[in-house]
């Protein structure tokens, strides 16, 4: 549990293995919500928030419940149920305690249940970080660090992409490339740039 682990996890998850451009998780919000910068910021804040809580909770469940009771094969069912109910719970808590936060994040929260980035990070924590011998707190710390980095990476890309898209709307694109095709090619070029960061750690 040190700063090095935290910094490495953040940089690696945010820039090198970027969740959208390298791992292809969360493409639906990437194409759907990135039309305006303001909604992109709202969505990425909501994703970061839920992702950190969800990965802490799912890691805990796997390490303290599923593995000791020898039922790790139901992890998929358990995780999706936990995430779905967690999103509902977070929505209720935010609604109760912070009206302004609910106003800015509220409409994005229901969309997050089917956002594959959340489940993808939870599953990735199990296959990538969890081992039989790792102490619980150390693993939890790494899992949370990775999810913070992933959430930040998601926000970074979705915000940059929404800014590009606002410019794209005003440019003269051939009719058959308008909309999703040109967005995908732009994403491909961004991904090409991020490919250059591979190997810095």
């Amino acid at each position: 549990m040190s700063f090095t682990v935290f910094a490495t996890a953040i940089i690696s998850a945010m820039l090198i293995n970027n969740v959208i451009l390298m791992q292809f998780l969360g493409i639906c919000p990437f194409l759907g919500v990135s039309k305006k910068s303001s909604s992109a910021v709202g969505m990425s804040a909501a994703v970061l928030f839920v992702m950190v809580i969800a990965s802490a909770v799912t890691y805990t469940i796997y390490d303290l419940v599923l593995y000791p009771f020898d039922i790790p094969y139901i992890s998929t069912i358990a995780f999706i149920l936990v995430i779905a109910s967690l999103v509902q719970f977070v929505e209720m808590v935010i609604k109760k305690f912070s009206k302004p936060l609910y106003k800015s994040l509220g409409i994005y929260l229901p969309l997050i249940t089917t956002n594959c980035a959340i489940l993808g990070v939870s599953e990735g924590n199990i296959t990538g970080i969890w081992t039989e011998t790792m102490p619980y707190w150390e693993g939890l710390f790494t899992a949370v660090s990775v999810s913070v980095g992933t959430g930040l990476g998601f926000g970074l890309i979705i915000f940059a992409f929404s800014s590009i898209r606002e410019k794209l709307d005003g440019s003269n694109v051939p009719a058959s490339w308008k909309g999703v095709p040109i967005s995908l090619v732009v994403a491909g070029i961004m991904s090409l740039a991020f490919l250059g960061l591979a190997g810095i750690i």
């Binding site: 791992q23 998780l25 493409i27 639906c28 998929t76 149920l81 594959c116 490339w177 090619v185």
Partner: protein
């Protein structure tokens, strides 16, 4: 809708990826080769058909407020079955699909079909819909996979991730022999566009294919518009002629009356 139409609609008219842009994550992530695309597609066919059947069977019992979580549990059960089967019989495919195998649960296509079709139709129609839509999804994945693998390596391989029917990996298709007619010892794989097997290539390849679809659609709309215009012009001409004839006949009648 007839049974045949129900089965065929998923391929082009209502293709999940090319038309509705559902399930984009696997469409980008697992399509680096033909085999992984086919494998993923067939797993989705199984999960979609199974979940459609069960959802249409239990649609009467599930209260309306909790139907989405209930559908998710049904889908997750089938995904767990598929995960264990793949782990047992095709470990190479299991490793290649990685996290996207459990992520079939959150594939919008499956929950979408459960919500939009299976919860309103009977078992037989839901089964046909599941198989048809799943095969449409597979078709789209295979198109992207073949496009990417061919550009990246100059051929299509079989037997690496799906080790069925062959002992060792073979090439289903390659350009080597054509070029070897002119020069000896040429391996086209050394000259492939390797970027198409990497993440950037996935975005660009899908962008190109979707642009092709939009081009085809816009031409079709244009053609239909032109045909409509022609039809209207023809009708106008006919009406005008009829009017003229009538006027002529009236004039003749008037003349005869005088």
């Amino acid at each position: 809708m007839s049974k045949k139409e129900n089965f065929l609609k998923g391929f082009l008219k209502e293709n999940p990826i090319f038309v509705f842009l559902l399930g984009m994550c696997p469409a980008l992530a697992v399509t680096a080769t033909f085999e992984t695309s086919l494998g993923m597609g067939l797993l989705v066919v199984f999960v979609l058909t199974g979940s459609n059947i069960v959802v249409s069977l239990v649609k009467g019992f599930i209260p309306d407020q909790v139907r989405t979580p209930a559908y998710i549990v049904i889908i997750a059960t089938f995904v767990t079955v598929v995960k264990m089967l793949t782990f047992a019989y095709a470990i190479e495919l299991y490793d290649a699909l990685g996290v996207f195998l459990p992520l079939i649960v959150v594939n919008c296509l499956i929950l979408g079909r459960a919500e939009a079709f299976a919860s309103k139709n009977n078992v037989l129609d839901s089964t046909i819909d599941g198989i048809g839509m799943g095969l449409g999804f597979t078709f789209a994945l295979v198109v992207i996979g073949v496009f990417r693998e061919f550009l990246a390596t100059g051929g299509i391989q079989w037997g690496v991730y799906l080790p069925f029917f062959v002992d060792a990996p073979i090439h289903l298709f390659t350009l080597d022999w054509i070029i070897n007619l002119f020069t000896d010892g040429f391996v086209i794989a050394d000259y492939g566009l390797a970027v198409f097997s990497l993440p950037p290539g996935a975005f660009i390849a899908l962008g190109i294919i979707l642009a092709g679809f939009q081009f085809k659609k816009s031409r079709q709309i244009k053609r239909e518009l032109e045909e409509k215009k022609k039809l209207i012009a023809e009708r106008k001409r006919q009406a005008l002629e009829k009017k003229k004839e009538k006027a002529l006949a009236a004039a003749k009648l008037a003349k005869a009356g005088e």
